[in-house]
């Protein structure tokens, strides 16, 4: 009886949970930017999935001129920051101060996403590109065959998330961000350059999405609509975790991807999407603020 349970865990449950963990880390990376942008700017970034794709496409273009993968990680991050900054100052700020900020910024970023997606198709064609895996080989974890790159992704993702949390909660810059999120007028009168904090946070959020795009490209391939499938899950994670909460994204990201992974053992995997969205709708009904509080609020 005991050994049967152990074997079930080792050969059925554990592999599925590991696959879920890889997806979980990936979703957390994308959702992290989304939640920071919402927590600070109150903006639902509908083009977040396209920024995720943008990172992957920049990496694809740079890799074609022979740059190594590890350099790409840094370069994409550095290139996405000014892009995000310009988008915030040039586009989002134009509709940011209207009465219906939620609606106008959502519509604007939705339009931006459409344009970006089609631009990718124009520049790179509709077919998927699969970059070579930067780390070849695989190892056995608990008798589970796990490619090394996925293991690296889990570790690397954890480091990135830890760094982001460290910056937000333990540095002066992070304190300014949290202050601006809590009360922008008060923060501004205390000398926080709120305009730059806003644009900087948006840039940082989309740069994180771009970084996720580079990291995930060797696993999920690069194609113009790659942002779409992923962003739905990221939105769900942000809502369940609490919009604007970093801890919420981590907890909800791990939880939901595990639900998805484990439920697909018992019911057809095609039903995992309705289950995840069902959780999102129920969460919005009973506790729209999510599991955790907002950035800067407690």
């Amino acid at each position: 009886m005991m050994t049967a349970a152990l074997e079930y865990f080792q050969f059925v449950l554990a592999p599925q949970m590991l696959i879920g963990l890889v997806l979980g880390v990936a979703v957390i990376l994308v959702a992290l930017g989304l939640t920071i942008i919402f927590g600070l700017l109150d903006v639902i970034n509908m083009s977040h999935g396209e920024f995720y794709a943008l990172g992957a496409f920049i990496a694809l273009a740079l890799a074609s001129i022979g740059l190594p993968f590890w350099l790409l990680l840094l370069l994409v991050l550095l290139m996405m920051l000014p892009v995000g900054y310009i988008v915030e100052r040039g586009l989002i700020q134009r509709v940011f101060h209207s009465g219906e900020r939620h609606v106008t910024t959502l519509l604007l970023t939705f339009g931006l996403g459409l344009v970006m997606e089609d631009a990718f198709r124009l520049a790179f064609g509709p077919n998927p590109h699969k970059p070579a895996t930067p780390i070849a080989g695989a190892i056995d974890v608990f008798g589970v065959f796990l490619p090394l790159y996925r293991l690296f992704l889990i570790a690397g993702g954890a480091v990135i998330v830890a760094l982001v949390a460290l910056v937000v909660y333990r540095t002066r810059l992070g304190a300014m961000v949290r202050a601006a999120a809590f009360d922008r007028h008060m923060a501004a009168s205390l000398g926080v350059p709120v305009q730059h904090v806003y644009a900087g946070a948006f840039a940082f959020g989309v740069a994180l999405a771009g970084l996720a795009g580079v990291l995930l490209a060797p696993i999920y391939s690069v194609f113009p609509t790659m942002g779409r499938d992923f962003i739905l899950m990221a939105f769900t994670v942000v809502i369940v975790g609490g919009m604007g909460s970093i801890a919420g994204v981590i907890v909800a990201g791990l939880l939901l991807t595990q639900v998805q992974a484990i439920s697909s053992l018992y019911i057809s995997p095609v039903w995992s999407d309705p289950i995840v969205f069902g959780i999102m709708v129920i969460m919005l009904m009973v506790r729209p603020q999510g599991l955790f509080g907002r950035l800067g609020h407690g």
Binding site: L108, L114, V115, R121, L122, S268, V270, P274, F277
Partner: protein, 329 residues
């Protein structure tokens, strides 16, 4: 003395009349040269304009952004297709759609109206996604292929009947149908109930102080929008002879929002003009390049930034001035 709202709605009616005249000329020309393609395209534009109309009722009047109107549009389309495949009766399909839309709309409205603002947008989005995924994976509903082989029907009015296979006949019928939906929506929004919706949009907290419930009008507006979206959707299988799960996807909801916003929210007639503008743009730009989404996306972004009141934001005040009376912006 008519107030500002009545005057601006009167301008909307004039613009709607202009649209009808233009559509009649289009139909006459189409019939004269024996065209099928453009008449069918025009019919489809009108059907999607009906969907945009439902978005405008929610966004323009009640201040609720729905990212999931495709749910009701698809509900109408699938139900109408299913009914027509059993019994090719227009009235049976429409009756079933109407009842289902009221029931599903009331359930959806009950769920969605528990939250406000951005959460409302996300919850409608989530609900539509759930239904889309379920339909996409249900063999009985054709799964990813959709339902094909919806028979041609005759819309029977007792004295006359119109075949859905006749391009010009069905175009005119759809035109009349959408105009009736527009008129119905315009009438409802001009009643005290409609004023209550506008009050809700302006300041929801103050409405209870005037002695009104906020729950009932919001739910009613949601159900009305659901019914309009579903009835428009019910026409789709009659036109195309099939339904596909794409009708339920986010792109359908998103396009409806683009249509309503580009045309001009809060004008009703803007949804109709927007629907036609977008369809024309798609087919014109689409004949030069397959990347029409860039053009439409840029146009939409431009509308959001520079023309928050959409196309009708420029046109309608001019019509109001022409009709006489002071224009209150």
């Amino acid at each position: 003395m008519a107030d500002a709202l009545t005057r601006s709605m009167r301008a909307s009616h004039v613009l709607a009349a202009v649209l009808v005249v233009a559509a009649l000329i289009f139909a006459a020309v189409g019939a004269a040269i024996d065209d099928t393609f453009y008449l069918r395209l025009g019919t489809e534009a009108l059907i999607f304009a009906g969907l945009a109309l439902s978005v405008d009722i929610l966004l323009g009047y009640t201040g609720l952004l729905s990212l999931g109107q495709a749910l009701y549009f698809g509900l109408g389309a699938y139900l109408s297709a299913l009914v027509l495949m059993v019994t090719p009766s227009f009235w049976a399909a429409m009756g079933a759609t109407l009842i289902a839309a009221i029931v599903v709309g009331a359930i959806g409205g009950f769920i969605a109206n528990r939250v406000r603002g951005v959460y409302f947008a996300l919850i409608t989005f989530g609900m539509a996604q759930i239904v889309a995924k379920i339909v996409y994976n249900t063999r009985a509903l054709g799964a990813s292929d959709g339902l094909i082989g919806v028979p041609v029907i005759n819309v029977n009015f007792g004295i006359a009947s119109i075949s859905s296979a006749s391009p010009v006949g069905f175009f005119l019928f759809t035109l009349a149908f959408i105009v009736v939906l527009y008129a119905l929506a315009a009438y409802l929004l001009d009643t005290p109930f409609g004023r209550l919706l506008i009050a809700l949009k302006a300041n929801e907290r103050r409405v209870p102080f005037l002695g009104y419930s906020t729950v009932t009008p919001r739910l009613t507006a949601y159900v009305i929008a659901a019914v309009i979206a579903a009835l428009s959707g019910a026409l789709y299988p009659m036109l195309r002879g099939f339904v596909s799960p794409e009708l339920l996807f986010f792109s359908t909801s998103g396009n409806a929002v683009i249509t309503a916003v580009t045309g001009g929210v809060g004008t009703l007639v803007g949804a109709l003009y927007g629907g036609i503008l977008l369809t024309v743009l798609k087919s014109v730009v689409g004949s030069y390049t397959e990347h029409h989404l860039i053009v439409i996306g840029l146009l939409f972004m431009g509308a959001v930034i520079f023309l928050p009141r959409g196309l009708m934001g420029i046109v309608r005040p001019a019509v109001e001035r022409w009709l006489g009376g002071k224009v209150v912006p």
